[in-house]
């Protein structure tokens, strides 16, 4: 067992542990922190796969953005120390069964299928500049149009958020 492998399992257990805690914790703030751990774990996984750039983006957007947003909204909608209600037990049972069945199915599927690894791919490295070039150029293998579409989407969602969340004063 090399350090490389050990690192992988540490990261995996961090991700899954965080995730499990995030979906089961009774205290919502605790769940948010667990999510944070899980997301950091995923960033670490990217790093482990030598995609440092993605790891960085993951950390910035998820850890620095979304989780903070979530924590803000928790503060806005909860009293401190609030406990989440128990899940509806019958639905919990069904959900567990369904999820387990799904997992088992996919697991067996993955087990049965052997992915042909290409040695070349393993040595492949990615430069940030490549990402930049791909995003801002046209032609095959380039993503200018989706990039612009996503920027529009962000703008739209920004406006949408304001419209949805804004307090409308009702005149009497």
């Amino acid at each position: 067992m090399t350090a490389y492998q050990i690192w992988f399992y540490i990261i995996a257990s961090m991700i899954l542990g965080g995730a499990l805690l995030a979906v089961t914790a009774r205290k919502i703030f605790r769940a948010a922190i667990a999510l944070l751990v899980s997301l950091i774990g995923i960033a670490a996984l990217y790093y482990w796969m030598h995609y440092e750039f993605i790891a960085a983006v993951q950390t910035i957007v998820y850890v620095g953005g979304i989780v903070v947003l979530i924590i803000f909204s928790i503060f806005l909608t909860h009293n401190p120390g609030h406990t989440i209600e128990e899940p509806v037990s019958i639905r919990e049972a069904f959900a567990f069964t369904g999820c387990f069945a799904g997992f088992a199915f996919v697991f067996s599927l993955l087990n049965r299928y052997s992915f042909e690894q290409t040695g070349d791919a393993l040595n492949h490295t990615m430069q940030v500049a490549d990402v930049g070039r791909a995003l801002l150029s046209t032609g095959s293998g380039s993503y200018l149009l989706p990039f612009e579409a996503v920027s529009l989407l962000l703008l739209a969602s920004m406006i949408g958020c304001i419209v949805i969340a804004i307090k409308i004063r009702t005149h009497k």
Binding site: Y4, F8, A12, L16, G98, L135
Partner: protein, 104 residues
């Protein structure tokens, strides 16, 4: 090196993460934690994309897709939280069980 861990292990990881997220989405009685579960699901997809890119497809496509997904996830989270807050203002609760006006 990386080939010491087979691709399937990473895929197991993402599958597990996916179903944990799905389980959370189905059972949590709080819209914010449901949103967290959705984030987990999205991340499991991201892991897949990145892993496939690393092991099987030596280009930049998977990474770019991941970037897009992260972006969209951010937008989605923002809109979702706006909806949650708006809902909270209306019914003073973010329990999805109580937000059941849309029926019959």
């Amino acid at each position: 090196m990386i080939d010491q861990i087979p691709l399937t292990h990473i895929l197991f990881l993402s599958t597990a993460l996916f179903f944990i997220g799905a389980y959370g989405f189905l059972t949590r009685r709080n819209l914010i934690t449901m949103l967290m579960s959705v984030e987990l699901i999205l991340n499991s997809v991201n892991i897949n994309l990145v892993a496939f890119n690393r092991y099987l497809h030596p280009t930049i496509d998977g990474v770019v897709f991941t970037l897009f997904i992260i972006t969209i996830a951010a937008a989605e989270a923002a809109v979702a939280i706006a909806i949650i807050i708006s809902l909270y203002r209306k019914i003073n609760s973010i329990d999805p069980e109580q937000a059941d006006e849309l029926k019959f």
